[in-house]
């Protein structure tokens, strides 16, 4: 749209075009000609209660007074609603600090993972016939079998000696420990990218790094989504690694912050649940808005 005069008709055209496109897409998505299976629908709906009931429980308990809670089973609707639980949980867990730590670690891990794993996987996938690269590939892959407990104890010593028992160290560890699985996911996909695309770029004088940046990395977007989602969920929710590695209380992540409510029995349940909700909320909200995209991304990563 270059000038204002033809904006209106053009917009109209565009709208019509989108409408057609949308209709066509809906038709394509609905290529399933079977009859609606009402039994399956009912069954799926009933079973989904197992997912929804714990979430419902978390919400209603977080909005009650301790007296209301002890009077019932926990499932009753709160009356009156007590919002102060959230304020108290906010201060008691030092929520802004924990949120900032978790967000920093998660964003850092995702960014570094995407930048490093894809480069390594590219080099390995294109040279897998060479002994050195094949060796590296299997070396990294073998680590998938090593359970975390075996490195847990020495790792704690090592990170504290190197001064990496903080958020930066966590980013480094998530990036490195994710390498095995990510390379597995990336290499299979890179090998399906036709090599002619690269050769064309090379004839134009592009270096290997340039080829990766301008040709390969943009083509990797579906896999970047998968790896990004898996890394994000892992880094955000992980409990055992921050538990053993982080030493400063100020470096605490959200899952660790929830740990303070353990052992302070029943009386604190309402505040604790408000805190749990606040810890779950950020990722849950992001998920609600990107749901279809997340699922299709994970599906691609898990099978290819």
């Amino acid at each position: 749209m270059t000038s204002m005069t033809n904006t209106a008709p053009q917009l109209e055209n565009e709208l019509a075009a989108t409408a057609v496109r949308r209709r066509r897409r809906r038709k394509e998505g609905d290529d399933d000609t079977r009859k609606t299976n009402w039994w399956a629908t009912a069954l799926i709906a009933v079973c989904s209660l197992t997912v929804l009931i714990p979430l419902y429980l978390a919400v209603v308990v977080a909005l009650k007074t301790p007296d209301q809670l002890t009077a019932g089973t926990g499932f009753e609707l709160p009356n009156p609603i007590r919002w102060e639980n959230f304020a108290e949980a906010w201060t008691r867990t030092d929520f802004p600090q924990a949120l900032a730590n978790t967000a920093f670690i998660t964003v850092g891990s995702v960014v570094f993972t995407l930048l490093t794993s894809s480069v390594v996987a590219y080099a390995l996938a294109r040279n897998i016939h060479r002994p050195f690269f094949k060796g590296v590939f299997f070396y990294l892959l073998a680590a998938l079998f090593i359970p975390f407990p075996i490195i847990m104890l020495p790792l704690v010593k090592q990170t504290s000696i190197l001064g990496l028992d903080n958020q930066v160290g966590m980013i480094l560890l998530y990036t490195i420990y994710g390498l095995s699985l990510n390379i597995f996911i990336y290499t299979a996909y890179i090998r399906s990218i036709p090599i002619e695309l690269e050769e064309a770029a090379r004839i134009d004088g592009a270096s290997t790094w340039r080829v990766f940046r301008s040709v390969i990395f943009p083509l990797l977007m579906p896999m970047n989504a998968t790896v990004g989602i898996l890394t994000c969920v892992w880094a955000w929710n992980d409990f055992i690694m921050p538990l053993v590695v982080l030493t400063e209380p100020s470096a605490r992540t959200l899952p660790l912050a929830q740990y303070v409510f353990q052992g302070q029995f029943n009386t604190d349940y309402t505040v604790a649940f408000a805190s749990y909700l606040m810890a779950m909320a950020p990722l849950l909200i992001v998920y609600i808005f990107s749901q279809r995209w997340v699922i299709s991304g994970v599906t691609r990563g898990s099978i290819k």
Partner: protein, 311 residues
């Protein structure tokens, strides 16, 4: 061209004979940029993964407590492991838990995946709902389950003695609550994998079987299950390996109790290694655990893949 010229040009300069060896060296060595891409990752991985593994294996032959002086003790850590009731109990619990949880996870998620693959109303919405547990921290949702088991259930099922007395404090049955939580969460990912498997099955096969008058059970047994064999293998191997290392659900629900009845191997290594002064001893335990997990995983792969190949 004179003879001398010909001789001179065959010596290393820029004539034809030089080309052949150059191509060969190029085929052997990749452009240096590829090495620059790989080396930093290999070094970092070796430093933060392989070195701790080696250090761990090294200390498993000593009596290091995590601090202070230490001596070599040879294999005595390993020998003692097999005489330690607490360790044997942890292995027993981990295996019982992992086998039950693997069976339940795969049965439930396959059933739900088939439901989600059928033609149902609001299919994408339900798929979204079933994936929610995956994105929630198991530790945090575990506290919600703990409240449910210890406060809600005793009031709702006051007539059933098992639940009325809070199942989490029941030495014999507390592990079933942990199974419930772990299965609840891991079904989400397994469903997605099964769903992507089911979508690879061509619809014509089902049309053919319905023309032949096959029953739903027969269709499942003869078409669906064999064709998603690879996905079944992946799910079973991954879930057993993951469940053997169970940690978060236990911390959230029972913290190993009552007594040590729900103490998994990972929890034991964590507790003994960090606060029990058993650094070397529990590292030896971790080495054994690694060997056990590897053997179990490889064994499963062989058995399950042979079954796949039969078809």
């Amino acid at each position: 061209m004179t003879i001398t010229q010909a001789v001179r040009s065959s010596t290393p300069s820029k004539a034809v004979p030089q080309r052949a060896p150059r191509i060969r060296t190029e085929a052997k060595r990749a452009p240096s940029a590829y090495y620059w891409m790989v080396w930093p990752a290999v070094i970092a991985f070796a430093a933060f993964h392989t070195v701790p593994v080696i250090v761990g294996v090294f200390f498993s032959f000593t009596n290091y407590a995590g601090y202070g002086a230490w001596n070599f003790v040879g294999l005595s850590n390993y020998v003692n492991l097999f005489r330690d009731d607490r360790v044997l109990q942890a292995y027993g619990f981990s295996f019982l838990f992992a086998i039950v949880a693997t069976i339940l996870t795969n049965a439930f998620s396959l059933a739900i995946a088939m439901g989600l693959n059928a033609k149902i109303k609001a299919r994408n919405f339900w798929r979204g709902v079933y994936f929610v547990p995956y994105i929630l921290a198991i530790l945090v949702i575990g506290y919600v389950f703990q409240f449910f088991f210890s406060n809600s259930l005793p009031k709702i099922l006051a007539g059933v003695p098992l639940f009325a007395d809070n199942i989490l404090t029941n030495e014999t049955w507390a592990w079933t609550a942990i199974v419930a939580l772990a299965v609840w969460q891991s079904c989400a990912f397994a469903i997605i994998i099964y769903l992507s498997g089911l979508q690879t099955i061509p619809a014509e096969l089902y049309e053919a079987s319905s023309l032949d008058g096959a029953s739903p059970w027969r269709t499942f047994r003869s078409i669906t299950f064999p064709l998603i064999g690879a996905f079944f293998t992946i799910n079973v191997v991954l879930s057993l390996k993951g469940f053997l290392q169970v940690f978060d659900p236990i911390v959230a629900l029972t913290n190993g109790g009552p007594g040590t009845s729900t103490e998994s191997v990972t929890l034991l290594i964590f507790r003994g290694g960090f606060s029990g002064g058993e650094f070397a001893y529990q590292t030896a335990n971790a080495v054994i655990f690694f060997i056990v997990i590897t053997i179990v995983s490889l064994f499963q792969f062989r058995v399950l893949q042979r079954r796949e190949a039969d078809f």
